[in-house]
């Protein structure tokens, strides 16, 4: 029987923007087993919810993560609104949906850039982030923030966007789409990208489902599951279908994200075209949340769950966040078994790990 070697991977590694640690047990160059561990940036945000007023906690929720910040704020606000029985005005709902899709695009473009860098394709990395910058400018113009949007609040949104700005956003989405199509073609056709991703880190649909995979990881294995199908926000009124690929490898996960960027651009256009007029928030003076709820949304990395329990006081009794990366840890361990050591960074990247989310 061959001797095995244990190689530590992370928490500091060139392909890891955030700290996660893997103990890789190797037989020669092949991974026999991978043991993950997290907790390097644990911030205790769930416990903080038991201390903060439920209104101001929306600000904290948005800071759970710097990439999917808006959707965390949206999920928190949706939960509180459900507990208080608030009906958010349609205009706020549509603007929330548009910003959530912008958040998805910028997250996927960030991932494409990082993965191109991991493949050793430096110029593709720079082009992906150049396009992301165009989108972040739109986010800044419409919300005032680039990383933390700060536009979502309990009962609606903080500020409206005028018709002229919405038209400008529509025009600039066309520019972004044209620029993105060029980059997407390179991801799809380039030999070096394919060499590093096709047939690597394969996971079947059955395994993905059984191991609780979510988001692009699950959909790339042929499972059409997207939490937006629940019809929250404006998704029930828009035309779209989950993006699904069949191969279950790193290339398929990349392709799902490429197609989701195009889909998000389309969803933003639909939101802009059908933007209702009217109020942007509903008041709730004197009301406090009571009861319990489980809110599920689709983050760029997959399904996120918020469990909230309140007893009519100003603080929540419990605020639990189950992030998509946390759900994708078990599938990652499965994918790493039997792969080559050189493929570990690419496989880890294709679950798009967001450790700050996971740590909370």
């Amino acid at each position: 029987m061959a001797n095995t070697t244990i190689i530590p991977f992370g928490p500091q590694h060139p392909v890891l923007p955030e700290p996660i640690h893997l103990d890789l047990e190797l037989d020669d160059e092949r991974v026999v087993q991978a043991l993950p561990s997290i907790g390097y940036v644990h911030r205790g945000l769930e416990l903080l919810a038991e201390r903060h007023d439920f209104v101001e906690m929306a600000q904290v929720a948005e800071r759970i993560c710097g990439i999917c910040s808006f959707i965390h704020g949206q999920g928190y606000c949706q939960g509180i609104e459900r507990l208080m029985g608030l009906e958010v005005p349609p205009r706020a709902v549509y603007l929330r949906t548009a910003w959530a899709e912008m958040s998805r695009i910028q997250s996927h473009l960030l991932w494409l850039g990082l993965s191109a860098d991991a493949f050793g394709f430096e110029s593709l990395f720079q082009h992906s982030w150049r396009i992301r910058e165009m989108l972040v400018d739109i986010i800044e113009e419409t919300t005032g923030g680039r990383v933390i949007f700060g536009s979502c609040k309990v009962g609606g949104i903080r500020k409206d966007v005028d018709a002229e700005t919405l038209q400008r956003v529509n025009r600039r989405m066309r520019e972004i789409e044209a620029a993105f199509d060029e980059v997407a073609n390179i991801f799809r056709a380039d030999r070096t990208v394919k060499q590093r991703t096709v047939g690597v880190g394969v996971m079947s649909a059955e395994d993905a489902y059984a191991l609780g995979a979510v988001g692009p990881v699950l959909r790339a294995s042929g499972f059409a599951s997207d939490t937006r199908q629940l019809g929250y926000a404006a998704y029930g009124e828009l035309e779209w279908e989950p993006v699904v690929e069949q191969a279950g490898d790193c290339y398929a996960r990349c392709e799902v994200r490429l197609r989701e960027i195009s889909q998000s651009i389309d969803l933003i256009r639909q939101c802009l075209a059908n933007m209702p007029e009217g109020e942007i928030e509903v008041t709730f003076k004197g009301k406090r949340p009571k009861g319990e709820t489980m809110v599920r949304l689709e983050q760029p990395r997959g399904e996120v769950c918020y469990y909230m329990s309140a007893n009519g006081q100003k603080n929540l009794e419990r605020f639990r966040v189950r992030t998509p990366t946390f759900a994708n840890i078990a599938p990652l361990v499965h994918m790493l078994k039997g792969c080559d050591l050189a493929d570990v960074p690419v496989i880890v990247l294709t679950i798009d790990p967001c450790v700050s989310c996971t740590e909370r």
């Binding site: 561990s37 907790g39 038991e50 059984a210 609780g212 709820t293 489980m294 189950r322 599938p331």
Partner: protein, 145 residues
Amino acid sequence: MSANESFEDIELDQWVATASRHRADGFRLVQMTGTAREDHFEVMISYDRNYDCVNFRVHVPRDRPELPSLSVVFPASFTYENELKDLFGFNIPGLALDYGGNFLRTKTKIPFSGSVTLKKEKPERAPSRAAAGTKVAPPTPVREG
């Protein structure tokens, strides 16, 4: 609570059987979480099938925080169970991959045990000028849970 969402209390001895039944019925494990109540711990588990989410809750006594592992039924449960172990101090017999309390490296060990003292918040009002210079008693530590 939305139309496609339910919460149900079950007995502790039904924990594994409920999981097995849902696995056989094609549900997937969505999440598992704990809540520290005054006299017990609550553990909630969520299953989903075709976007229908069902949630089950068990009460675990504080003096014996033990929950049987679902590793055999849902292999992915090991992350949630290690989290319960690290945050709430649970003992999880049958855990397939046990990190021995080192999965989440929290600064405070077992932060959700219900006996953690948090830093006092700043007072809501600034002290009046008349009170300036007078000795103020230190804030009383708050016990959570």
